[in-house]
Symmetry: C2
């Protein structure tokens, strides 16, 4: 499974499946599973009325989904209704699980999410990955994956796929890290290093963060620009509920938008890139602090304590973000901008200057900016949920592997 | 017909039509017409083999398209082939025509394009429209439309629709000009001012220019950023062969991307917007020339004559375009950038500085930049062709009106 799983969601349940009798059954399996996932517990009759199929057709589809371990029966519905009591159906809490993983500049994290969207196992390790060779990093990540999979299996779940978020550009093959400057990785085929037991998808952390926001956020629109940051600053563009990936898969490099054409040289080769003003290390430098672990925690703590140098540095970072986002909003006309990832923890000090720049530079009503509720967990959750979404979108494919 | 006609093309011939017996016939009419349009003249048998329908089915569809005046028979094919000679089919040169119109800051233009893509009538008037009320401008444009339609009718064509390119932001209703700063128009419903005899589509000139490039350009990719300019600088993003319009239809405002955050104030409310460095009037100012008509001709003439002040002004404009495009390329990862509209006439002097900025600011291979062969005719041709494309995409809808 080399295609990015989560993109299929943009087309709706099972839309990409072939237009044959068998394809139609696969699409209908997806419609049943999506209906129960979105509104369950539901009886067979309620599913039939929601998706417009006969009760008999739905029963046959439900039976197949129960056999595959994707749906389960909760027992008879409460009495007091007209007719013979039906059994309520729910998405299985013991079937396939999405395994999400995140490679950060100074941490590794893995989690398992069940079909109900619950995180059932999680492991994390703080480790300085910058400049480390990919082999040992992926070795440690694989240990965490095995630990999380074992824990999930102990609860009756089985891994339906592994999705890995990386702080860098990923090729459209969804496994090759083309460039991750803050790890110092170039052209690394993660598919060759990760366990081959599960279908694999590798994607940029900003993309997974945006998908998490789309799927799990509160009333997130279907057209938005998601900005996230660790040391680098990435963005992801969601258009009509799908990711805009660009020709090579490199869209969203907000961190290298020039905000001061003759500003400081950036490792990317440019000058005055946003990252030179609003990246975590640039902010630490401007505040006179040494880089280390938990940079966001340090900055947030000092800012909350009223440290004026830190607050000024964050204001300047917010203003630089506002300039870069003015350009992005002029080009893309999104419905909103969402600040996610590590940035969300600094929002109280970044937002006022960011919004002031956006307001004064925008004719008409400025684009609204909100802060992600998911915060730094976004990319990891987006990765795990992308696997879950793929199961909901084509349950038959999973049943074949079960 | 308020929906933007041309967007339907992104989905392919007739894809948006309903999934019924009648819908299937409408889709098949479109497939026949597209096949003849793309590869004709073709016999019925050749059409059948190209689109995978039986000869009998194709004959019935062809008969309907001939009755509607969309196809015509050229007479028996040349002998020497096996079997009974068939009659070659061609797209009609006497059926519906697309009427394109352009409202420029100092010109009005209208043309009629037949189903074969040939311009069959054209009228243009040089007139200073800046600050003029919409009523008189549209009155003059309507005169030109009537003149072009009469000329087309004299050749046996009839107008299938009118598409109007404007230098401003157009609402998603495809008839309201929300803001055209260089005309000083705000919230003008062109639908109420233009003749109601034809289905109407109003769109931004950069969007029509990009569609012309997509449909008529030499080997244009399906993902590109099209930059065009008159006094304003607009861009249009083509993604997977369709326009990215933005939430309100305002995407592509490259002219208001900040290139010097503390640069000169722009009428949009921003500071240091690209238009302040690379708009035609900014370039004239930097070159010490007075604004007037035919600004591009003046600049190109002086530059060709070796006027160093003009060449320097164009180099600086090219560099500013390079900075703004670096940001756009980082955000969107297009396959290429195409310079169109009036800008294309200045490309020899803009391009070197533009490409130098893009190269030095981009890690890895820079995004290729090309110059549109259509030049300033792009928006007008794109408008007329959008009507022709709508006919090819759903011939049954036109036949109903014929």
């Amino acid at each position: 499974m080399t295609a990015p799983l989560h993109d299929t969601h943009a087309a709706g349940p099972g839309r990409a499946l072939p237009d044959t009798q068998q394809g139609m059954r696969r699409r209908n399996l997806a419609r049943v599973l999506h209906a129960v996932s979105a509104e369950g517990p539901l009886s067979r009759a309620a599913v039939a009325s929601r998706i417009g199929l006969t009760r008999a057709a739905v029963s046959s589809l439900v039976d197949e989904l129960i056999r595959s371990g994707l749906l389960e029966e909760l027992g008879p519905e409460r009495p007091g209704r007209v007719g013979r009591p039906g059994s309520a159906l729910a998405v299985s809490g013991h079937g396939p699980a999405g395994i999400g993983a995140e490679i950060g500049v100074d941490h590794l994290a893995v989690c398992a999410v069940d079909l109900r969207g619950q995180v059932r196992a999680r492991a994390e390790r703080h480790v300085a990955n910058r400049g480390r060779a990919p082999g040992p990093v992926i070795g440690e990540l694989t240990e965490l994956v095995h630990r999380v999979v074992a824990e999930a299996q102990g609860e009756g779940l089985w891994p339906a796929g592994l999705a890995v978020a990386v702080p860098g550009l990923v090729a459209r093959d969804a496994r090759t890290v083309v460039r991750a400057p803050n790890l110092d990785w170039h052209d690394i085929d993660l598919g060759a290093l990760l366990p081959s037991a599960y279908p694999l998808t590798v994607d940029n952390e900003a993309n997974f963060g945006a998908l998490a926001e789309l799927w799990l956020g509160d009333a997130t629109p279907h057209d938005f620009l998601h900005v996230s940051a660790e040391i680098g600053i990435g963005a992801a563009l969601v258009v009509a509920g799908g990711l805009l990936r660009g020709t090579r898969g490199f869209a969203g490099e907000l961190g290298h938008v020039p905000v001061q054409p003759e500003g400081p040289l950036c490792p990317c080769g440019g000058r005055g890139c946003l990252e030179q003003y609003a990246g975590e290390e640039a902010v630490l430098r401007a505040a006179g602090l040494a880089p280390g672990e938990d940079r966001v925690g340090l900055l947030a703590g000092r800012a909350a304590d009223g440290d004026e140098a830190v607050r000024r540095a964050l204001r300047e970072a917010g203003a630089a973000l506002g300039v870069a986002l003015t350009g992005a909003v002029n080009l893309l006309d999104p419905e909103s901008v969402v600040l996610g990832g590590a940035l969300s923890g600094l929002a109280p000090w970044l937002l006022p200057a960011l919004e002031a720049e956006l307001d004064r530079r925008t004719a008409g009503p400025a684009c609204p900016v909100s802060v992600s509720r998911l915060g730094p967990e976004g990319p990891l959750l987006g990765a795990a949920h992308s696997v879950v979404r793929a199961v909901l979108d084509d349950p038959a494919a999973v049943a074949e592997r079960a």
